[in-house]
Assembly symmetry: C2
Homo-oligomer: 465 residues x 2
């Protein structure tokens, strides 16, 4: 548990005017060289000072023997030196009134008794001096909008996402790395990324409180193995989730996997039931796996749903059938079209076409049919949300369909989610929709599961307004 | 139900020395123009004759007024003319002793009473003259090894897969199009693709019997909405599945979706329970959705598993935890390592490393560690299958890791499945693995679910040997 000031001091980590990297190295692919490169080759605009007594300069940039010798105001220090050296470096930070520290080094409590003692020292120094410290044993932090980037995996292997409004907090660096990478690939914009490792100074609760206040963050995604302060976490989640949706993936659910998470709780299986119950009570959006995490986060670009009555539109019969199966199985309602809607839809169908839900526009459908069909459904008060299947393999389906989808997503009358599946041609279009925040899914089940979660969250949010 | 000779005559559709396309058109993106282009621009090596009385030539190729005027032996006729014209064309085929016909045209029994009468006529002509006819109301057929391609979606939108050993039969053209496209994108090789539409002459049962005998086909994937001959289908599935694994996705499971499938069965929900029970009895591999279909088919490149004891290896802790969660939840056994295995694994771990299952090689792992670790596990008789997590975001993970994975997949001692997730860099590597038939998955749940199905199928196959 950190103090209010420590939580506030996270601003020095995410919006630093100057960063010092202690343990900076010229050796390719070393953690401290990767961070050096990200900060010098990425979009960080502030001052950057490498620190290492071994080198007079690194890649042509002057290197300082220690932080004190920099003689400039330092907002954030990134430490990548062996565990044993860390307390002394933190004391130096304290003397220099530095308030933001990211400690990526491993070898603390997770490595045994000696490391645990070091970790205790670290906590004491930070708490006494109001230092906001992330880590140790973490992958680092990232704020794409300022370029403050301590993620120690190289940019050529791990793309950095653009700036956006989704925040990630993760206990696991490995999972964190996939989150950043996939977000970048899918054009998902993020506000803050925090791999918090051992959570020595700032833990989940503190980070949720920080993100609650962070104006750039609209959605919070959390990967959690085991929270130190369970009760407090749920209290904060409950409060924050009323303003900003929280999507959470709990790992280490069962005896064997909890062992893999090296958790020391006696009764882990029981403990997950407690987590699950608490998530339900807080109405946070629980993901079963990583695929859910990515599927769910995309839907929150959409306006809240007023109910659970779903309309489906397709240009391929079989995909409509599979979507209907998923709706039945996962449990959403099929919207009943109004008489007016039926008459209007009939006009855009071929003579042998059948007005039904799913509505099959058949393979001849083009952007114009989709435009008209969606508009009709937007105007039917008996429809709360739309699942739009767009198989791009047919000749009439072209870029103009993308523009129709972007337009209806942007005008935010009702939530829409798209379903498409294919090879290079379709994937290319899907990346385009990602870019414009139109949620799209490769399978009916993924889309329906996501819409179900979104409808549930919408119901909750509508009830607390 | 077709005769033995009709089933045999499918060879004229899949291995034709000559193809006539009736209704050939020069108008871009028309069904009959798309097929024209696929046959002239794809890898079909036989003779090709466009037929249409309206044109003396199409794109520079001489066009015939009717099939009879070609005056050459024709193996296969593809018909893309309006429904009403079809019986006469089929009679012409019968006169010329043509035995293979693909009829893509729609407007038969699915379109009303008139169409149903036409469809009946078609069946009579084909049965009397031993014509193997696929369709009507279908997407077409494809044999990548001969280039015989009547799939009427253009190659620039719908990539064609390479030649391989997986056969697809699908009742839905829309689902069929995604199957072809995704297979091509993921480098999955196919033996035959058959979109069979109304199944007027040859139905699921006939096609399964054909594929049973087809030496190129090792795995059969079927998308089925409703089988006309349920009992016969299950009998054939039961027999074929003992030699060639059948992966099946049943759509139109519930009342609403069955309505979408325009099924005329009275009690559909009950009917799905009957399908499901029969699938279980036949021990075929049932997929819940399209994602399962693609996930499952990839694993059958692997040797059968001797049991359900799984070992997990990872270079990222959190991904190991998530995989352990999935194993616990989905129901596989964690392998217990032998003492010898433990000693050997200890040697490749860093001093603070812990020999456990999942085995965490930590972020420093490289190809050499994976090579040694997998070899040790291959030699432990207490391990039946391996799930190998390879996060490519860390600097030591390079192309050499791919070669290690391909090598162990190729030597076929135990089944392996890989788990990786990332952006462009990782996706690129994943396509490489696809190419060499190393099954890889983007999520622990997908990999574990697939391995569970494979272990179950292995048990069945081992029992009938």
């Amino acid at each position: 548990m950190a103090s209010k000031n420590q939580i506030k001091n996270l601003k020095f980590i995410f919006e630093p005017k100057s960063i010092a990297l202690v343990g900076a190295s010229p050796i390719p692919n070393k953690v401290s060289n990767v961070i050096f490169k990200s900060l010098t080759e990425g979009n960080f605009q502030g001052e950057f000072y490498p620190v290492n007594p071994k080198y007079p300069d690194i890649h042509g940039l002057m290197c300082f023997p220690n932080i004190s010798s920099i003689k400039k105001k330092i907002d954030c220090v990134i430490i990548a030196t062996p565990a044993a050296t860390v307390p002394a470096i933190l004391l130096e930070c304290a003397n220099l009134k530095i308030k933001g520290v990211v400690l990526v080094t491993a070898g603390f409590s997770e490595a045994g008794v000696e490391g645990a003692a070091l970790e205790k020292q670290i906590k004491e120094i930070c708490d006494k001096n109001e230092i906001a410290l992330i880590g140790p044993n973490c992958l680092g932090t990232l704020n794409p909008s300022t370029g403050a980037d301590s993620v120690f995996l190289p940019m050529y292997k791990l793309e950095r996402p653009k700036s956006g409004n989704i925040a990630f907090i993760t206990q696991s660096g490995a999972v964190g790395s996939t989150i950043i990478d996939v977000s970048a690939y899918h054009g998902i914009g993020i506000s803050k990324f925090i791999s918090y490792g051992n959570a020595t100074v700032l833990d989940e609760v503190d980070l949720l409180e920080y993100l609650e206040q962070d104006s750039k963050t609209k959605v919070i995604v959390a990967y959690i193995e085991g929270a130190k302060r369970g009760r407090e976490m749920f209290e904060v989640m409950k409060r924050v989730n009323k303003k900003k949706p929280i999507i959470v993936l709990k790992a280490g659910k069962f005896a064997k996997s909890a062992q893999a998470a090296k958790s020391h709780t006696g009764n882990i299986a029981g403990s997950y039931l407690a987590y699950h119950a608490a998530f339900r009570q807080a109405k946070v959006v629980e993901a079963e796996g990583l695929e859910d995490l990515f599927d769910f986060m995309k839907i929150f670009s959409q306006p809240l749903a007023k109910g659970n009555r779903i309309a489906v539109m397709t240009n391929g019969g079989g995909m409509g059938v599979l979507t209907a199966d998923a709706i039945d199985q996962i449990g959403l309602e099929f919207a009943n079209f109004s008489e007016e809607t039926k008459i209007k839809l009939k006009e855009i169908l071929p003579s042998f076409g059948n007005v039904a839900n799913p509505l099959d526009l058949i393979a001849e459908a083009d952007a114009d049919k989709y435009q008209k069909g969606i508009e009709i459904m937007m105007n039917d008060p008996g429809i709360d949300a739309l699942l739009i299947i767009t198989l791009f393999q047919t000749p009439p389906m072209d870029e103009r369909v993308l523009n129709v989808l972007v337009k209806f997503s942007d005008d935010k009358r009702k939530p829409i989610a798209c379903i498409m599946l294919g090879g290079a041609y379709t994937t290319n279009y899907q990346r385009y929709l990602d870019k414009y925040k139109v949620p799209s899914y490769n399978s009916p089940i993924a889309a329906v599961k996501t819409m179900k979660k979104f409808v549930e969250y919408s119901k909750f949010r509508n009830s607390v307004k």
